[in-house]
């Protein structure tokens, strides 16, 4: 079969040249890719494969081109002499490329492991960075918590000290009151006998009446002290707190001018009747409202608010004013007997002490929040049985 040699010649020579060119282009690209990330095992592998292919393409293609040219020029015997060397190099290049290719699996495994380790390292690094960044915020947060805890503890300690102090004062007051109460009774009795013995409106009778008045005043103080010390017995019955509050406002408005005050009522209608001593609680409300009136002076808003917590079974009663407020240094002393900021002759300093005693006698509690110049809020907590 006779065939044209031209196609074989052209494909061989042009193909060989193309192999060298393409091999070199591939190597250049592979090196370029590797330069993007010199530590990437896959890119290193591709560069190795391309290097092997270039060696293979150059050795084989050179052999082919030389062979075609020598045969074409009739130097067949020269080619026969060169052929073993060209073939040997060719075989070595062939095995080289095949060997490099077979490393792919191991390279791929190594690459995946490196990638995994890198991710783990990155994750750890990010976590560390985040911890580092948040450390300051966490320290601040913890400091705030500690400060809040400390403030709460201090407030509790203050409250306990106040309670203990008031209890001690109460005990002392009760003792003194009992000791004074009997002589006062005797003085009053004899005084009244002497007044009865006087027939005319003499100067002596007026003097005795003055003594009687002051003895009664002393007895009132003693009674107040007994109320504070809670040594007087109290009879309790179900009462409507809203009704008592309204009665108090009405009672005070009859005796004093409340026209300069706005009374705001925020009553919780779910508040049930409470087991209270009506008269004593009335006295508490009178004391607090009168204090508020005094603090507001020329005018202001008096807020009466009630709340009922079913979960705690507890009634909360707030009596708030926007008056002059209480100085911080006085807050701890306002429930002390005879402590008053009013001018001499305007108050005995027993109003809040009595209030405190009555609330405690009802198994309740009383808190005060006040800011100088902004007003005060007295909060009463009473059990709802």
């Amino acid at each position: 079969m006779t065939l044209s040699y031209l196609p074989i010649f052209v494909v061989d020579v042009v193909g060989s040249l193309a192999m060298i060119i393409l091999g070199l282009l591939c190597l250049r690209l592979a090196l370029n890719i590797r330069s993007h990330d010199k530590g990437n095992a896959i890119w290193i592998y591709l560069a190795w494969v391309c290097s092997g292919l270039v060696i293979f393409a150059v050795s084989r293609s050179t052999g082919h081109i030389v062979k075609q040219l020598l045969i074409l020029d009739g130097f067949d015997e020269v080619w026969v002499a060169i052929q073993p060397y060209s073939g040997a190099v060719n075989t070595m290049a062939l095995i080289l490329v095949a060997s490099i290719t077979l490393f792919f699996r191991q390279i791929w495994k190594i690459y995946k492991q490196i990638l995994k380790d890198k991710r783990a390292l990155q994750l750890a690094h990010e976590e560390l960075m985040s911890l580092n960044q948040n450390l300051e915020a966490r320290v601040e947060e913890r400091t705030r918590d500690l400060a809040a805890e400390s403030a709460q503890r201090m407030s509790l300690e203050k409250h306990m000290a106040q309670t203990e102090k008031l209890a001690a004062i109460g005990e002392l007051s009760a003792g003194v009151a009992h000791e004074i109460n009997n002589p006062l009774g005797v003085i009053l009795g004899y005084c009244q006998l002497l007044i009865r013995a006087e027939t005319t409106d003499s100067e002596r009778k007026d003097d005795l009446k003055t003594i009687e008045k002051h003895v009664k005043h002393c007895q009132q103080i003693v009674a107040d002290l007994l109320s504070f010390s809670r040594s007087a017995g109290t009879e309790k019955a179900p009462c409507d707190v809203h009704q008592i509050l309204d009665d108090v406002i009405e009672f005070i408005s009859k005796h004093t001018d409340l026209s300069h005050m706005d009374v705001v009522r925020k009553y919780d209608q779910s508040l049930p009747q409470l087991h209270l001593n009506r008269e004593k609680i009335k006295q508490v409300f009178i004391n607090l409202v009168m204090n508020a009136r005094y603090a507001m002076g020329m005018g202001g808003v008096l807020t009466l608010e009630t709340q009922y917590s079913e979960a705690d079974r507890r009634a909360v009663i707030r009596i708030a004013d926007n008056g002059s407020g209480i100085a911080e240094s006085d807050i701890t002393r306002i429930f002390d007997p005879f402590f008053t900021t009013k001018p001499t002759g305007q108050g005995t300093g027993l109003g809040l002490s009595v209030t405190y005693g009555i609330i405690k006698d009802h198994a309740g509690d009383i808190h005060v929040d006040s800011r100088l110049g902004e007003g005060s809020t007295f909060t009463l907590f009473l059990p709802a049985h």
Binding site: M1, T2, L3, S4, Y5, L6, P7, I8, F9, V11, D12, V14, G15, S16, A18, M19, L22, G23, L25, C26, L29, A30, N32, I33, H36, D37, N40, I42, L46, C50, L53, A57, P84, G87, A88, N90, T91, L94, I95, V97, A98, S99, T101, L102, F104, R105, W108, L115
Partner: protein
């Protein structure tokens, strides 16, 4: 005592060896068809490595990444090229089934030992093996180019 025995036996062995000469077989000769056998084994090795490469590319789910499909085509074409060259070498140098005679400056007569024109034609077409290996390298070039552009655009990042 043991040391002296070793020396004695060694001396005896050297004496007997000198008295009874034979062929020098210490280094194997590499004549004959060994060259073509080595070359053919090289092609088989290359073919197997390309096959394994294609298998690992598919198994490792790498083909979804930019450029690797082209690299797989490169490996497939190189595998086919190896089979083609393997056959040509066999027909030419091992089986001696083909005889090529130059009949003119640009003509050749291809004669098969079996007299089959089909085999002559297969040999003729098989000799155009660059039609397989050049496209193979072109596909490798395309694959690398895709990887490079993907890295430059930052689509795939540095990881594949």
């Amino acid at each position: 005592m043991k040391k002296y025995n070793v020396i004695l036996f060694s001396a005896l062995f050297c004496l007997i060896s000198a008295l009874v000469p034979g062929e020098l077989l210490a280094i194997q000769a590499h004549g004959g068809n060994e060259g073509i056998v080595v070359h053919q084994l090289g092609h088989i090795f290359f073919f197997v490595s390309m096959g394994a490469f294609v298998y690992w590319l598919r198994e490792g789910r790498i083909l979804g990444h930019a450029g690797w499909w082209y690299i797989m085509v490169f490996a497939l074409l190189m595998g086919v090229w190896n089979l083609d060259v393997l056959l040509m070498h066999y027909l030419d140098e091992q089986g001696h089934l083909i005889e090529v005679t130059k009949t003119g400056p640009w003509t050749v007569m291809i004669k098969s030992a079996t007299g089959s024109d089909m085999l002559s034609m297969v040999y003729y077409l098989g000799k155009l093996d660059h039609l397989l290996c050049v496209p193979a390298l072109f596909f490798l070039y395309l694959g690398l180019k895709r990887i490079k552009s993907s890295l430059e655009s930052g689509n795939s990042g540095k990881e594949i």
